[in-house]
């Protein structure tokens, strides 16, 4: 149905021509779901854009051909390919809210597509658009028709995007990271919806993702891409059991599985012994009846409702929940960036909740509680070198200057595995993993007792996530810090934490030992979360199969 031969895509940039995809060939049969897996910069999205010729400015197909049902998509005119887009082949995108026009009603956007491909006339367009919304299981479709994207949740927006893609009954659906940025339960519903719809309509599909686990669950066949080339191809179970290419092996290794420990993610060559943590009985942080209420447009919003928990010295606690569960608000209160509405934060017996957050920046305890932020790029000042960034807390809070400062910065760089010559680079000159290291070095500069990690690996590729998680485990072992690890992913939390708290709608639904909760969740919501996570084959099974 779709055949690509020796495709090459290049981009014209200021520094000359850059080849994003080279020598790519693939075939796709009718009714087949093909997964293309790769990390950022692998050229997987570019490939999908090339099929529909919607490459960004400066990009062009420099070699090869793309045949769809006997038509050469590279040869036909712009007018002809426009008839194919949306009608024969359609796409859904990552970040669904940005993929919709923010100031046009979603129903109207659907109508645009329907009318473009003569699937509806001016009279019945609205009716058909509502029908399309219903087909992606949007409740109350009649009133949703008039909604603007900002009035809908991320999952709902993605449904609208799917409705737009499927409105004209295309034969091939290309899904480019369709669940990035969505909650894990939403990810499952969206993916299940896509799978059911393409099965029901007997369509073919290409799923592009960075998540090997997700691909293995929904695809018939997987291709692994690296640096613009396909390095391996196979059925999911074979890829997991017998990855032949070293890169695939690395990727398979780095994908967290239910029965993993943090060291399992690393390749055998660099595997170090399992970390031994020293957890004491001493209470470091004691949170009592903590609440936070925000003033909203339509009355008060109870972001965090009366939660209590403890962290022992040397312990690592996971805080799991979906967006809107109140986990980030909790983290911000604990790191004392915002003030709680009520409740107490006892830190080594001292009540910190009475100190206003404005004053806390200069308080002695500021050194003891530090934070690693979610986005490694956005949380670094683009005009500061890595050294400036790491020195900042040392200068401000420890009043370090001159030689001692430089020695300490170098020591920290060594500790987080940042090569010394990178210290003089600016954030844009560093890779994602290196930026994460800088952020961690800054947070541990003052030897904090409690480190709050707010989804530190959410924006990283899996292979880098594996390394950063191991680094965090090493640091905890060496420095004896306590962690509060905020994440939406129970499997990642389990790698790093002893205890876990599951939050929903501002309250705690379940708390306990990581192992217990993962193996025998009591609360319905926890079960749902665990079931929603993509489940690549367990490592044990894999070895047995092999």
């Amino acid at each position: 149905m779709l055949t690509i031969n020796n495709l090459a895509v290049s981009f014209q940039t200021r520094r000359g021509e850059i080849t994003a995809v080279k020598n790519l060939s693939l075939t796709l049969d009718k009714g087949e779901v093909l997964g293309i897996v790769g990390e950022s910069g692998s050229g997987k999205s570019v490939t999908s854009y090339a099929i529909l010729r919607v490459l960004d400015k400066g990009g062009k197909i420099s070699a090869g051909d793309i045949h769809y049902s006997g038509i050469d998509l590279c040869e036909i005119s712009e007018r002809e390919i426009r008839d194919i887009r949306g009608r024969e082949i359609s796409m859904i995108f990552q970040n669904p809210r940005a993929a919709l026009n923010p100031i046009r009603q979603v129903g109207k956007q659907l109508e645009d597509v329907l009318r473009r491909h003569a699937q509806a006339s001016a009279q019945d367009a609205k009716e058909k658009a509502i029908e399309a919304l219903k087909s992606v299981k949007i409740r109350d479709a009649e009133s949703r028709y008039h909604a603007y994207p900002f009035e809908l949740s991320g999952g709902m927006c993605q449904r609208v995007v799917i409705a737009m893609a499927l409105a004209c009954n295309p034969q091939l659906l290309i899904a480019d990271e369709p669940t990035t940025g969505l909650d894990i339960t939403t990810q499952k519903t969206v993916m299940d919806l896509i799978r059911d719809l393409i099965r029901a309509r007997n369509m073919s599909s290409i799923l592009i993702t960075h998540d090997l686990g997700l691909a293995s669950q929904y695809c018939d066949r997987i291709m692994v891409m690296k640096d613009g080339e396909i390095v391996e191809e196979g059925i999911p179970s074979k890829l997991f059991t017998k990855p032949s290419h070293p890169y695939t092996r690395k990727l398979v290794n780095a994908t967290p599985r239910p029965d993993d420990s943090v060291r399992c993610l690393l390749a055998d060559e660099i595997k170090s012994p399992e970390p031994q943590y020293a957890v004491t009985e001493e209470v470091l942080l004691d949170v009592k009846n903590l609440s936070k209420t925000f003033k909203g447009k339509n009355g008060d919003v109870h972001a965090v409702k009366d939660i209590s928990f403890q962290i022992l010295k040397g312990q690592s606690l996971g805080l799991v929940g979906e967006s809107g569960s109140g986990k980030s608000t909790t983290a911000e209160m604990l790191v004392r960036l915002i003030d709680p509405s009520s409740g107490e934060i006892q830190f080594e017996g001292e009540n910190l909740s009475t100190i206003p957050s404005k004053v806390f920046a200069t308080h002695l305890r500021r050194r003891d509680i530090q934070m690693v932020f979610q986005d490694a790029t956005d949380s670094l000042n683009p005009r500061h070198t890595a050294q400036d960034t790491i020195s900042e807390p040392l200068r401000r809070l420890a009043k370090m200057r001159g030689k001692t400062l430089i020695i300490r910065v170098k020591e920290l760089a060594r500790l987080v595995g940042l090569p010394e010559h990178l210290l003089h680079r600016f954030p844009h000159q560093l890779s994602g993993g290196q930026k994460a290291r800088v952020g961690i070095a800054r947070a541990i500069a003052l030897n904090p007792k409690l480190l709050i990690l707010d989804e530190p690996t959410a924006a990283l590729d899996v292979s880098i996530q594996a390394i950063v998680l191991n680094l965090l485990a090493d640091l905890r072992e060496k420095l004896g810090m306590s962690y509060l690890f905020v994440s939406h992913d129970l499997h990642v939390v389990k790698l790093l934490c002893d205890k876990v708290i599951v939050m929903r709608n501002g309250g705690i639904v379940e708390a306990g030992d990581c192992e217990d909760i993962m193996s025998a969740p009591r609360h319905e919501y926890t079960k749902e979360l665990l079931a929603a996570a993509p489940a690549p084959p367990k490592r044990k099974d894999v070895t047995e199969l092999a």
Binding site: Y49, L52, V54, D56, K57, R82, D83, I84, R85, G86, R87, S90, M91, F93, N95, A98, A99, L100, N101, P102, I103, R104, D112, V113, R116, H117, H146, Y148, F150, E151, V161, M164, A165, K297
Partner: protein, 346 residues
């Protein structure tokens, strides 16, 4: 999160107008104090060069300038509430009458200039954005740079030289209407509108002829910010994700450009328009001078030179009210363009 209902909107607009009352009061206070701080004695000026000390003092008493500042201010406020802006000492007319005659002249000039400017700058910006690096883009850049770097009085004189002196197609640059025509009855103060209402098309054409050169002069000057902003806003809109979605859905270029990209680009364009409008209204005094246009800018400058307190205060107040209205209109346009901007949240 439903669309703002009409009574809601009316209430929001009223609230917005109420918010401007303290602003206007502040303007009244500041303009009063600043005019008093100006050097020069209006009584001495009014009395003339040959006046004796005594007659100057008499005039001072007649103008109420012998009273203390707070007293003067109270009297000014009292008059203001009765709609009396005072008497201009240089024209001898009530300031309110002067403003009623001159403000429409300036507004007519500014608005027609902006109309011309938008008519050229926005299509030019859109074209430049769709073809960056092309000939259109370069023409746009040259025109924009030339427009902004030539001072208005220079372009004005150049245009007069070519079209009036050399070619003789333009009427003499002496005000809003050639002396052989009679002013249309005062309804709005805009000659084009008033003449149209009166059905006097001969006068309408004459007024238009007078308007063409000064408004082109002003339009050339305002071209730059609008064209640049249109280009930048269109470029960023065209590179956003929803445009890719629209392209991947097979929509036509026209639909993508106008329905999707342009409407999203409108917001920054409207913002720029508001800014351009306010600075043009204040800055068109040079054009008014060159074309002997009886506008509010030249009026204010003349009043300022002779410390004509009432006239200056009247001018500042009129401008303040105008800006308040302008901002309100722009905010209303925002909510009309972008549903994300709720009126009540502001």
């Amino acid at each position: 999160m439903k669309k703002t209902t009409t009574p809601n909107r009316v209430r929001a607009v009223t609230g917005r107008i109420a918010q401007t009352i303290p602003v206007l009061f502040g303007v009244v206070v500041i303009s009063f104090l600043l005019t008093r701080a100006l050097p020069g004695d209006p009584a001495a000026y009014f009395a003339g060069a040959a006046a004796s000390e005594e007659s100057i003092q008499q005039i001072r008493v007649a103008l109420g300038l012998d009273k203390s500042l707070p007293q003067q201010f109270l009297i000014y406020l009292q008059d203001l509430f009765q709609g009396d802006l005072g008497q201009s000492i240089s024209t001898g007319q009530p300031v309110a009458t002067d403003l009623a005659n001159r403000l429409p002249a300036s507004l007519e000039l500014t608005l027609s200039a902006l109309l011309i400017s938008c008519g050229i700058a926005i299509p030019l910006g859109v074209l430049a954005a769709t073809r960056p690096g092309s000939a259109v883009d370069h023409i746009c850049r040259v025109l924009v740079t030339a427009g902004v770097s030539l001072p208005t009085f220079f372009t004005g004189i150049l245009l007069i030289y070519i079209f009036y002196y050399l070619l003789g197609v333009a009427p003499s640059p002496l005000g809003r209407l050639d002396f052989i025509y009679i002013e249309p009855d005062h309804v709005t103060g805009f000659y084009l509108v008033d003449a149209a209402i009166a059905g006097d098309w001969e006068t309408w054409v004459a007024a238009l002829k007078q308007l063409v050169l000064p408004s082109i002069t002003l339009a050339l000057f305002t071209l730059a910010p609008i064209a640049r902003m249109t280009r930048a806003a269109m470029l960023s809109a065209l590179s956003s994700d929803y445009i890719r979605t629209a392209r991947a859905s097979g929509l036509s270029d026209k639909k993508i450009l106008y329905t999707h990209a342009f409407r999203n680009a409108l917001l920054p364009i409207v913002t720029t328009l508001g800014m351009v409008f306010s600075f043009t209204l204040g800055a068109n005094v040079l054009v008014e001078k060159v074309f002997a246009w009886p506008g509010i800018g030249s009026y204010a400058v003349e009043a300022l030179v002779v410390s004509d307190y009432a006239a200056v205060q009247g001018f500042v107040l009129a401008m303040a009210v105008l800006f308040v209205i302008l901002n309100l209109v722009i905010d209303l346009m925002y909510t009309a363009i972008d549903p994300r901007i709720g009126f009540d949240s502001q």
